[in-house]
Symmetry: C2
Subunit: 347 residues, 2 copies
């Protein structure tokens, strides 16, 4: 629960560039040292949340592989999603309770809100819902490995929407780095059947692009919501985000799995791995929010890209996976991209 220790602070809102340091191994030692000025504290906080997101995301993928090896999904995915949102809500409330105890209730950390503040909170959850619905239809045009490849379009859409909606600038070197990040991630995921994706019909491409835009927009919009009120406590902001997440996922349960839940029970088929996955998803979700608050969407994309590579390397040891030449080449390109992003700050 690293995030509960973090104090809320104003966000300068334009210092994404040096966050990437955290992906190059420095943060652990720095985070361990004590003291330092406000810049130091900010940098430390960014590093910690970015590192947390990277580790959580890579362990997420490993849990998925593990659960697949252990057998089929026995539980209903909609109840698991609801549980994740509920757990995130509970964790945010627990964090808030602690803060209220220590600092008392202030304007920034009180739970009550205004319509003006809360009205935008359902939008990201709604966008993700639409994207998840589309996901069922895109498989009519693209197979699952092809979909994994096309998902890398998210990187480009996030970069473009970050520029257009948040009006934040990347330097030309950072743009170049972002393009090769997308190419490198895709390269690392290539397998002998990847070329099928080139036969994707136009409808498949359009849906993939729409999904990438929805996903990118949801991410960028979440950042906009969270950063709009810099002094507002992140746990309050998270609480309201997750409340709407619960509402949308409750609707999904009713529509898709109502009978199963009534007949077999809400937690039917949950195993130890299922609980671990829910816990991991909840913590990852909170880490994403923290990265949005203290860093930005670009850092999030780099963090999850590096996590994808870490997952593959860890899978070699855990599951005896073989790394392909394409993976090595993609990893080199992603590493250079991280380096270029960090040296290419807007001056």
């Amino acid at each position: 629960m690293e995030y509960r220790k973090l104090k809320d602070q104003d966000e300068d809102g334009n210092s994404a560039a040096d966050d990437l340091e955290s992906l190059r191994g420095k943060p652990l030692s720095v985070a361990a040292s004590l003291g330092g000025g406000p810049v130091d504290r900010k940098w430390k906080r960014k590093s910690i949340v970015t590192l947390a997101l990277t580790v959580l995301t890579s362990s997420q993928a490993i849990l998925i592989v593990w659960s697949k090896r252990a057998g089929k999904y026995e539980y209903s995915v909609t109840t698991a999603n609801f549980s994740v949102e509920a757990l995130k809500c509970a964790l945010s409330l627990a964090a808030l309770a602690r803060i209220w105890n220590n600092e008392g209730v202030t304007d920034d950390n009180r739970l009550s809100t205004t319509l003006d503040e809360v009205i935008v909170y359902p939008i990201p959850a709604a966008l993700y819902l639409v994207k998840n619905l589309l996901q069922y239809y895109i498989f009519a045009y693209v197979d699952a490995p092809g979909y994994q490849i096309l998902k890398n379009l998210n990187i480009i859409s996030t970069g473009i929407l970050y520029r257009i909606i948040l009006k934040r600038k990347l330097s030309e070197i950072q743009w170049a780095a972002f393009i090769i990040l997308c190419a490198g991630c895709t390269t690392a995921q290539l397998n002998p059947s990847s070329d099928h994706v080139l036969q994707t019909p136009l409808q498949g491409w359009v849906m993939a692009i729409v999904m990438a835009l929805l996903s990118g927009f949801a991410g960028v919009y979440t950042e906009a919501i969270i950063k709009k009120r810099p002094s507002r406590n992140i746990n309050v902001q998270n609480f309201w985000l997750y409340v709407f997440g619960m509402v949308f996922n409750a609707a999904a349960i009713v529509i898709q799995d109502f009978d199963a839940v009534v007949n077999k029970g809400f937690f039917h088929g949950y195993s130890f791995i299922t609980v671990l996955m829910i816990l991991n998803h909840a913590l990852s979700g909170i880490a994403v929010s923290m990265v949005m608050k203290y860093a930005d969407n670009i850092v999030k994309v780099y963090s999850t890209s590096v996590a994808m590579l870490l997952t593959a390397v860890v899978s070699v040891f855990l599951f005896g996976f073989h790394l392909s030449l394409a993976f090595f080449l993609g990893s080199i390109v992603v590493s250079v991209s991280v380096y270029l992003h960090s040296i290419g700050k807007v001056r």
Copy 2:
């Protein structure tokens, strides 16, 4: 014979960075415009030789595919190599004759030389000979497609030797660009069986690295020889380089194909395509020398890398080749590398 029109000029020896402009489509229009100062002329000359090398190298590969489609090699490779060297010698002499006619014989363009000048000229030819001999042995450890992949190590070895031997600096962005150039070229050449290369035994890796170093060293050493006397006419320098090329290739004929040449004749099995290939190799060889004189090894590497991509694209139209997803990804990475190299100049 574009190169005959180029006048010899002093070389500033440290302006590789902007040559890459020529790979981004500008040179044709600029080369067509008249006039301009000495900087303009230098830039024009660099652009023309770089463009010539790119076009010649890509058409070289296309001729090879064409000749393979037309049937097996009927001619002896050693006589073809000798013919290339002889043709380059003849072209250099023809260019010199023209210059002597126009400008008279000077210290810089006279053919006669000193032992001090000429003693280093056999070295590149000897290095290439050793490399070509090794080539026969490496196939005991690596298959032909794997060898194509490993040849990309040349890019890295050239960069390192360029830094160490010529003591020329690349900026950190240019180094990053060079690393992704190597990764991008390799990615573009990936095919479903490329992963075999990861099973290459240690001996194979050692030989591949030695060959990359020999090839890189030969290239860098040629540049050092040619740039050592900036005012010396390039056609004289080429003449002496190619004379030793003829000597080494004559030795190769005697060792490998003496009987065949005596019994069937020197030009046995030559077809129209063979003649075209010899002409193309000769012109490409001269273009390489010109790039060494007026640009450098880094430009040469970029030029041949872009040529590799051009070849593949042209082959789609000529031979109905299919481009793989890996090719697209590699091309994106190579393009970004070209861009980064050009904006990443040492200041």
